[in-house]
Each structure stands twice: as structure tokens, then as C-alpha cells.
Amino acid sequence: MFEARLLKSGQLKKILEAIKELLKEATFDCSDSGIQLQAMDDAHVSLVSMCLKSSGFDKFRCDRNLSMGINLESMVKIMKCCSNDDIMTIKAQDNADTLTIMFETSNQEKMSDYEMKLMNLDQEHLGIPETNYSCIIKMPSSEFARICRDLSQFGESVIIACTKDGVKFSTSGDIGSANIKLSQNSSVDKEEDGVTIELQQAVCLTFACRYLNLFCKAAPLAPQVILSMSGDVPLVVEYQIEELGYIRYYLAPKIEEDD
């Protein structure tokens, strides 16, 4: 049997919000180390990889490895029934075809439980090779979200160019072009508020802006976002979820146009 208790149901709510627009359904793989999820979007250009460590839960029990096919839209509906600081418990029997989700208020006065049907999904796991990225950019997640939002008004694709001076996001479209340049700044109080760049080699890649915007839905989960890039490999957008784990988004670069 599988049982996981999370003190702040709001966290899972945010996680689902962060992936539900990319994925309609996904398989949650539960083992005694935690819950993992890996899935591609319908167009197969991006990949979501999520890991929630068992240690991040208040209580975690998983007797047998379990794969649960979940319709994320339904799950979001259930999560809307709780408030952010409710305590949540997820339960499933081995080989069960339903998942039980329970919410209790912190003063134990209200208890509610929901049962959701599970699905049989074809799962296709991809092996993600260890990569030494040429540059790793750390920046505030809200800043990244703001940049993506601003640039999406101008064009469909964003060019991210990282040099030793800083990182430049640029785009162009019908109305004109836009460039946003960030330089390293370490003179801030908190490490997560600054922009840091670890650079081995300058990189310049083009990505679909709409996807970046969808990745930014994870911004409420972490104050800092980590972008890792190397020439001709997918971009990694990583959000560290405090104590619980991480969400990583992989996005394939756009093919260079010849003209």
C-alpha cells in the first residue's frame, strides 16, 4: 500500500499548476524513495521531470513500487477543494485502480476525502544523460517569468545568448524587436535574488517562447530558477522545491533557419 502525508497541500497544488498545461495526463511513479514523474508534452518537444523525495513528506510509506496514471485535469479539480494549509494524505492500495486523497484542516475540525479513478497510460521513459553544461544561469524565478512574459509579446521564439558579460534574451516579431540583458550581480542580501552565471563557453540558442512561459508557471514553487545550456542540447529549466525535491523542464532548441 502507498500512503503519503503532506503538511502543506498548497505545495502539491502549485506543482500541479506548474505541469497541467504541458501535460494532460501523467504517470506518477511511487517508490520508497519518493514520487517521480517524467513525461513529454503532446508535441514531444519538451519534457517534464519531477522528483518529490520521500523525506520531504511528513509521512511516507510505499510497500511496493506503484505507477499511477493520473488525469491531471481531474487531480487539479480535487486540489481546488482544499485550502493551501490543509494537511493532505494520498493513499492507494497495491494494484488499485483508484487513488484516495484526504484533506484535513490543521485544527482537525474538517475532514474531506476524494476518490479519483486512475488510468492506464503507456509510459515511455527517456534516459537523460549526465551533461556538463557550458553555462549555468541562476536568477530569481520571478525575473525569468517577467522576461518570458515581456518577450512573448514581441515574438514566438526567444534567443538566449550567454557570454561572460551576462545573458541576453532577445526576440523579434511583427512590431519590432526586444532585447533584455542581465549582468551578474552579487551585491544582494540573499543569494537567490542575484543573477549568477557559471560559464565555460559562450552559448546562443533559440527556444519557443510559449513553452518558456509554461515553465514559468512553476515560479511560485521556488524563488530561484536555474537555466542550464549547452550548444545543441535541450535547455534545462530547474526549480528546486524547498525540502521536497525539484521540477526540471527540458526544452529542445529550435532548428536554425537557413535563410
Binding site: V45, L47, H125, C209, Y250, L251, A252, P253, K254, I255
Partner: protein, 303 residues
């Protein structure tokens, strides 16, 4: 439908008869029998409505094509002089314009100008090709198609409005005959031809006559042209059930109709609804955004 056409066909046909081993009785028009020396052949061609093979009579010298409609006529006999001859079948042979035969072929090639020998080819029955080309000399193709001369080539393209113009007078002619012969065209009931109603209730509307005439002509037309013809003549698509209810009062005499007439021609019209997968605007936008991006699975190996 066959009995209805019998009447008009008998009118202009003289009793030329011939017995086959099958005891068939053929009624031919004068024009086909005047000259006994001319060779006539029975040929099979695609019927323009059903596109199945049907029997036709072709006389190359006369430049005439006639169709055969047979009627099973079991256990009957006729007298010929002092002889009694049994017959099993009556065949009515009537002249037909080869253009009707060509129509389905033209419609098929309607997208562009093509040479005639390309249009009049039958993929399933290549043996018909020669015959079709011969027949094409008998009629004026310009009545249903546009002609274009490019160098030595003569190209043709089907023209629907021309075809409809060509068909309309035909419907009009049939209509005249129906009216003058006072043929019952009430769609809801069959009436014995010897049964005479009082003048007021027997009158059918102009539209019913027109529709009936159209349906007779439509027996020689592919389905698409039938529909276009109805529209061209200003006849709305038939809604049979409602019509009967709406006209119920004026058709008291025919109220006890026991069988509904099913218009088989309209059957293929009913297309099952295809349920398209739900795709929201967001999904579409995302799909568009993804174009131009490499597939992620080209970077990561499948486990």
C-alpha cells in the same frame, strides 16, 4: 419506375417483336427498325445513375444508342399469326443521348481540362474505352463541357451550369407530357389509371409535377447532378414526413396509405457525424509554438 415509363414508351414504339431462346419480347422504336440491313449490337455500358453495367443497343451506322429496360413478364403468351408464343420478359428499347452515359466520366475529371480519351476511360472496364470514344462522336459534348484547343490538342472540362441548362428543357418536356396525360404524380399514393377522381381533388400542384419529371430525368443522372438539378429548378430538398402531415387535410382521399415510400436515392446522403477530438485554442497555439523545434526524444535515449 419501370411501369410508369412503359406508357410513354409504348406510344412511339411499334410492335416489332422478336423471340429469343429466353422468350424475350422486344419493343423497339421505328427509327431502329426502318433499315433492316444495318448491324446493331448489344453492348454493356455503365448506367449513369448506378454506375453498374447495363444493356444498351448501339448501331454504329445509324449513329444511335438505345437503352434496354426489361420487365419480367412471366407466364404470358402472345399471338403471332396462328402461333402462340410464350414470353418471359418484355424489353423496351428506347433511344438515349450518349451524353447521359458520359456525364459520370466528365464529373470525375471536372477539376481540370483534359483530352477526351483521358476523360472517357473506364479503369475497371478498359474494354469500354473504344466504345465510349466511338459514342462521343454521336453527340455534342459542348452541351455539358467547355472546349479548349491548345495546339493540336482538344481539351474538355465538365461545366455544371451548361449541363443544367441542357437538362432543364428535358424536365420541362417530361412535365408537359405528365400534365397532358394527367398522370398521377401524388407522392403519397398510387392511383389506378382507370380510377377517376373529381377534378378538384385530383389536381396536383405544379411543383409535384415538376418534381416527378425531375425524378424521371434523374434516373439517368449521377447523384451529385441530381442534387444540383433540384436546386437549379428551385425545388427544395424533400422532407417527406412533414409534407404529408402538413398537406394532410387536402389529401384526405389518400390518408390510408399503408406503405411509406422510401427514397433510396437519398440514402447515401446521410453521413455519420465524425466526432473530432477536442482541441482547445490553447492546444492549437502550443502545437504551433512547437513547430520548428526538434523532438526532445532525439536527444534522450529511450529506456
Amino acid at each position: 419506375m419501370a411501369p410508369r415509363s412503359k406508357k410513354s414508351e409504348l406510344k412511339d414504339a411499334t410492335g416489332f417483336r422478336q423471340t429469343f431462346d429466353q422468350n424475350r419480347f422486344l419493343i423497339l422504336p421505328d427509327s431502329l427498325t426502318n433499315d433492316q440491313n444495318i448491324e446493331r449490337k448489344f453492348v454493356k455500358l455503365r448506367h449513369p445513375q448506378t454506375s453498374e453495367l447495363a444493356m444498351f443497343v448501339f448501331s454504329e451506322k445509324d449513329k444511335k444508342l438505345a437503352q434496354m429496360r426489361s420487365l419480367p413478364f412471366d407466364h404470358r403468351t402472345i399471338f403471332k399469326d396462328n402461333e402462340v408464343i410464350p414470353i418471359d420478359r418484355i424489353d423496351f428499347v428506347t433511344l438515349i443521348d450518349p451524353l447521359f452515359i458520359f456525364l459520370p466520366y466528365f464529373v470525375k475529371y471536372s477539376s481540370m481540362f483534359s483530352p477526351l480519351d483521358q476523360i472517357l476511360t473506364d479503369e475497371d472496364f478498359p474494354e469500354l474505352n473504344n466504345l465510349l470514344m466511338k459514342l462521343s462522336e454521336l453527340s455534342d459534348l459542348q452541351q455539358v463541357a467547355n472546349k479548349k484547343e491548345v495546339g493540336d490538342l482538344i481539351l474538355w472540362q465538365y461545366n455544371e451550369s451548361k449541363t443544367l441548362e441542357w437538362l432543364s428543357p428535358k424536365v420541362e418536356k417530361v412535365l408537359q407530357v405528365l400534365v397532358s396525360q394527367q398522370i398521377n404524380v401524388n407522392p403519397n399514393a398510387a392511383i389506378s389509371s382507370t380510377f377517376k377522381l373529381s377534378a378538384s381533388s385530383a389536381q396536383s400542384s405544379e411543383e409535384q409535377y415538376k418534381r416527378y419529371a425531375c425524378s424521371i430525368i434523374s434516373e439517368y443522372l449521377p447523384f451529385e447532378i441530381q442534387k444540383s438539378l433540384l436546386i437549379h429548378l428551385g425545388l427544395p430538398e424533400k422532407v417527406e414526413c412533414n409534407k404529408r402531415k402538413a398537406d394532410g387535410n387536402s389529401l384526405d382521399v389518400n390518408k390510408k396509405v399503408k406503405h411509406n415510400s422510401i427514397n433510396y436515392d437519398e440514402m447515401p446522403n446521410k453521413v455519420e457525424k465524425i466526432v473530432a477530438p477536442k482541441l482547445t485554442a490553447k492546444d492549437k497555439a502550443l502545437k504551433k509554438a512547437a513547430s520548428g523545434t526538434k523532438s526532445i526524444s532525439s536527444f534522450f535515449k529511450k529506456n
